[in-house]
């Protein structure tokens, strides 16, 4: 499976996650967000950018607590909780936000 933007082809798996992490760019994120019915705002981008930075450092998406704490520091303590993240990414911050950020799907009992 794949999608195309401006002549560039992005390969995805059957669940819509990018196959090649290095393919990701803002265009791809915007396309993936539309597929997920998520309208990207600055707050979404804060989360997406943090996910990518963390992944770059640790080769895994951050645990939910790590993410909420980081977002709380950036956007204010009232937003540092999973309820807020679910408002941004209704299917769940771990899976949906990772998909839009071009990261692999987290697996396990989650």
């Amino acid at each position: 499976m794949s999608f195309e933007i401006n002549g560039k082809t992005y390969e995805t798996d059957e669940e819509g996650y990018l196959v090649n992490l290095s393919d990701w760019n803002e265009d791809a994120a915007k396309h993936l967000a539309v597929e997920e019915k998520v309208e990207l705002t600055d707050q979404h981008w804060e989360v997406i950018n943090f996910l990518r930075e963390y992944y770059n450092d640790y080769q895994i998406a951050p645990a939910v607590r790590v993410l909420t704490k980081a977002i709380g520091k950036k956007l204010g303590p009232e937003k540092g909780n999973s309820k807020y993240l679910y408002e941004l990414f209704p299917y769940g911050p771990a899976k949906q936000a990772c998909k839009i950020a071009g990261l692999p799907k987290p697996t396990g009992c989650i």
């Binding site: 895994i60 645990a63 704490k69 697996t107 009992c109 989650i110």
Partner: protein, 486 residues
Amino acid sequence: MAHVKPYVADAQVQASVNYPGELVEDWHDKAISRMGELLGKYRSLRVFMDACVHCGACTDKCHYFIGTADPKNMPVARQELMRSVYRRYFTLPGKLVPGLVGAKDLTKEVLDDWFSYFHQCSECRRCSVFCPYGIDTAEVTMAAREILNTVGYGMKYTNQILAKVQKIGNNLGLPGPALEDTLSGLEEDIEMDTGVSVKMPIDVQGAEVLLVTPSADFFSEPHVESLIGYAKVFHQAGISWTLSSHASEAGNFGLFNGNYEQMRNIAMRIRQAALDLGVKRIIVGECGHAWRVAYAFWNTLTGIGAGGDDPFSIQLQKQLDPRYRQPMHICEFTHDLIKRGALNLDKEANDHRIVTYHDSCNVARASRMGDMPGGQFIIPREIIKAVANNFVDMPMDTIGERTFCCGGGGGVLTDDLLEVRVKGALPRMEALNQVKENNKVNFMATICAICKAQFTKVLPFYGFDMSMVGGVHQLVSDAIQLGTKE
């Protein structure tokens, strides 16, 4: 119905767990040959193939049948998918007059049905409680999955996880540095909340206890709340403990696939960690099937547990403290401390909750806790009653050994089976609704990472808030009065 089949594992995933990358050309012969091997190796499987008298006692006992109303989800029908093939190839009447005895050729269509319906079974064993012969559909499902995998027809979700745990040490694929970062963040959180410095030690040589817990406890909500609870219990009890980056997973999906080798490989990581760190005790966190594997299989798989008198077992037995049960469930550990008055608990801290308890299937029907029959039902409830003032059980036919699966066990906890998961949760949701309406229950405690993840996802489909589910040690965490006893 959509979502009745999970995604098929691709060649890369299959290769990483040593199965053929795609359906092999001679799949028919290979499948029958593997089935013959399993029938020879597991006597139980042959008995289960032979013993059914079609009495119908199991038919309406499966949560997936109740939720989907698909007749192929009746336990007897699920077993029959394999039994009809068994008759055709392994019994004389089936070989001679297949049409008269319900014997069927293994066609591609039958194999596809296997793939679909043996992945709509969570191996919860509720049906076996009601079967007069004790036929265990879970074992049939495990055998079927092993046969499917052998011919290159594996399931993506489970096999991907099996690859990760054997490569990185946990189902999530959390590498050591990420784990350390996560744990130090949690230490900060606890200190901020309580003013007390509670440690989350990892890879500490010479610690008394090795704690093995599902990796979801590091990663997810509400799981992490229980991890914080375990840390607080160890802290107040003054018992040194450690996690292991090598064995950072309690769960063992090898069980789900009926693959002995992989189950052993995963369990061996825990033996190795115990030997390397020199611990005296091994304690298992809140994970349903992990406790089944630990309680029932670690003994022969890894030499953890009493009884073995071979050099392999003795090596570890010499190291572990014989005064304690090995392995021990975290609930047994905490319960024992509570009984001895070693924890200072303020029940009022949970007064905003009216709590019920969901028995997880593998704990309920495949293991025990403590030294009394039914301890696996009693001990978690006793802990809850020691840390909360308001506790109500759900209806009797939905708890204890008759508990309903959350709907996501046995490798079904994947997005591609979401519809099956939502429908399979129906009986539990009805029971929960009853105590919500009658007793104002607003919290369902459980001791399984899969149950927690599954309920978080499906509760909203039934109009409940996802935060209604959490761990038993989450309640302990809120009630424990740090700084008063240590």
